[in-house]
Amino acid sequence: MVDRSGQKKPGPVLPFWQRVAGALNPVNWYRKDPALWRESGTAYLYLLPALIILGIFVFYPFFSAFYISLFKWGILPPRPYIGFANYSYIFNDKYFWRALWHTFYYVIITVPVTLFLAILVATLLNKGLRFLSFARTSFFLSYISPIVAIAMVWRWMYNADYGLINYLLSLLNKLPFVHIDPIAWLNDPRYSIPALIILSVWHYVGYHAIILLAGMQNIEQQYYDAAKVDGASGFQTWLHVTVPLLTPQLFFVLIMSLIGSFKVFTEVITLFNGPGPLRSAETIVYYILRMSGRIDSATMHLGRAAAGSVILFGIIFVLTIFQMTVTQRRVHYQ
C-alpha cells in the first residue's frame, strides 16, 4: 500500500476494538478540536431562541400535521385513531374536487397573466421614464396595502347596481354593435373566479414588476451595445437579450407566484365574505380551514383539516421539486 500523502503515520496502529472505543469516546471527540467544541456551545446559545420558536411552531407542527390527520379530532376528546379515514373522506368529497378545480382555474390564469403584465410594466419602467419613481410607487401601492382593505374597495367596485366596473362597462354600450349587460360579479357563480383573478392580478403585478425591473437593471450594458452593433431592432434586442438574461428572475417570480396562488385564501374570504355564491370561489386552503371549524361557523374536524394540509403540502412539494430541477437545468446564463 502506498502512502499517498507521504506524511509520517501518527503513532502505532491500535487493535480494532481499541480504535472503535476511541472513536466512540466523547472525550476524544473533544480533544480533537477543543476550540470547535467551545465555540459550538456559544453558537448554540445564539441559535437557541430561533431553534426554540422554530421547533415549537414549525418543526413540531410539520410532523404533527401527519399525526393529527390519522385521528378523528373534534373540540373535545375522545379522539380515536381512524387510520386514513380522513383522507378517504376528502377524496370522496365533491367539494374537495371542486375546490381543487377552482384553485387550478385560478392559478392557470392568474400566474401567466400576472407574469406577462409584469414583464410589460418592467420593460416600460426600464425605459427610464421621467416619472419613474411616481410610476414605480403607484405600482407598488397595491402590493403593500392590506388585502382586506383592497378587497373592500373591489367588493364595492364589483357591485352589480352601483359598482364602478359595471358603470365603465356600460359606457362601452355607446359604441355601435356593443351591448353589455350589467354583470353580477359577486353573486353569479360563473364570475366568482374571474372576479378573484382580476383582484389578484391587480394586487401582485407591481411586486413582480419591481423584481423583474431590478433584474433588468442588473444586465450589463455591453450586451445591449453588442446588439446595437449587430443592428438589432428594439424588439429583437428585448426578445434576444433582455428576456434570456432575465430568466433567473423570471423563474423566481413564476415559482413564487405559482406557489403563492395555490394557497390563495385571504382574497376569497375578504372579497366574498365567505366561499362565494354556492361555494363557487372555495379554494384548497379555504376548504381546509373550513374543516378546521374556525371560519363559516362550520363544524370542527381538525383531523380532516390536517389531512387536507398534508395533501396541500404534497402539491406544493411537487411544485418545489419541479422548480429546483428546472432552475438547475435552465438558469445558467450569466
Binding site: W37, L47, A50, V121, P146, V148, L164, P248, V253
Partner: protein, 259 residues
C-alpha cells in the same frame, strides 16, 4: 404606462372619493367622481361604529413586538451561521432553509392545537411569539454579515472585546440597511397579517385592524361610504411608513430576486 398607472391608482382614488360621499351620493348612477360636499364626518362615524381604537392598538402593539423580537433572534442566529464554527452547522442550515418549503397554511391546524394547549388562543402571546423568527430574515442577514471582513473580529478580540459586544457594536451598525429591510418587511407582514389572527382569536378585543375591518364589513351591510372610510384608515399607517422608507422597501423587494 399612463394607462397602467391609472388602473393601479383608480381603486385607491375610488376608495377615498367614496369615503367622502353621503350614502345617497355613493349610490348615484352615473357615479360622482368628486363629491360636491366632502363628508369628513364619515371617518368619525365609522371610527365610532366599531372599536377601531382597540384594533389599531392591537395592530401596532403586535407589529412592534414582532419586529423587535424578530430583529433580535434573527441577528443572533444569522451571526452564528455567518461567523462561527460549530458542530452540525451545514446540516442545521440546510434544515432551516428546508423550512422555507413548508407552506405556512399546512401548519395552521397543528399550531391551532398547540396554542389551545398552551392556553395562548385569544392572547397576545399567541399572536406574537410564533412570529418572532423568520428563516428568510436569517438567510438575508447571514449573507450580509458574511461580507464583513474577519479582521475586524481579530482586532476586537485582541482588545478584549466579547463576542456579544462585538456583534452589537460592530456588526449591527455596519449592517443597518439589511436589518432595517428585515424589520420593515416584518412590520408590514405583521400589520397585514390576516389568516393567523382570524383563526387564533375569538373575541373582539383581540382583533387587529384587518380582521376588525372584515367583521365591520359584515356588520354594516351596504353602507359603502363608511366601509371605504374604514378601509382608508387601515391603509394610512402603511402608506406613511412606505413614504418614509420607500428606498429600503423597493431595494428589499428587488434584492429578493437577485441572489
Amino acid at each position: 404606462m399612463a394607462v397602467g398607472c391609472a388602473i393601479m391608482l383608480l381603486p385607491f382614488f375610488w376608495m377615498v372619493t367614496t369615503s367622502l360621499k353621503t350614502e345617497a351620493g355613493a349610490m348615484r348612477m352615473p357615479p360622482q367622481w368628486i363629491p360636491p360636499e366632502p363628508q369628513w364626518e364619515n371617518y368619525v362615524v365609522a371610527w365610532n361604529m366599531a372599536p377601531f381604537g382597540r384594533y389599531f392598538f392591537n395592530s401596532f402593539f403586535i407589529a412592534i413586538m414582532c419586529t423587535i423580537g424578530e430583529v433580535i433572534t434573527t441577528i443572533l442566529a444569522a451571526y452564528a451561521f455567518a461567523k462561527m464554527r460549530f458542530i452540525g452547522k451545514e446540516v442545521l442550515f440546510a434544515i432551516f432553509l428546508g423550512t422555507l418549503m413548508i407552506p405556512g397554511e399546512m401548519l395552521l391546524v397543528p399550531n391551532y392545537v398547540t396554542l389551545t394547549r398552551l392556553g395562548w388562543l385569544d392572547r397576545y402571546e399567541g399572536l406574537i411569539i410564533p412570529w418572532i423568527v423568520s428563516v428568510f430574515g436569517i438567510f438575508l442577514l447571514r449573507q450580509f454579515f458574511r461580507s464583513i471582513p474577519d479582521e475586524l473580529w481579530d482586532a476586537a478580540r485582541i482588545d478584549g472585546c466579547s463576542r456579544l459586544r462585538y456583534l452589537w457594536r460592530v456588526i449591527v451598525p455596519l449592517s443597518k440597511p439589511a436589518i432595517l429591510t428585515v424589520a420593515l418587511f416584518k412590520f408590514l407582514g405583521s400589520w397585514n397579517s390576516f389568516q393567523w389572527v382570524l383563526l387564533m382569536t375569538n373575541t373582539e378585543s383581540m382583533r387587529t385592524v384587518p380582521v376588525g375591518l372584515m367583521t365591520f364589513s359584515s356588520d354594516i351591510g351596504t353602507a359603502y361610504h363608511l366601509l371605504m372610510a374604514a378601509s382608508v384608515m387601515a391603509i394610512v399607517p402603511i402608506l406613511i411608513l412606505f413614504f418614509f422608507t420607500q428606498k429600503q422597501f423597493i431595494q428589499g423587494v428587488a434584492r429578493t430576486g437577485i441572489k
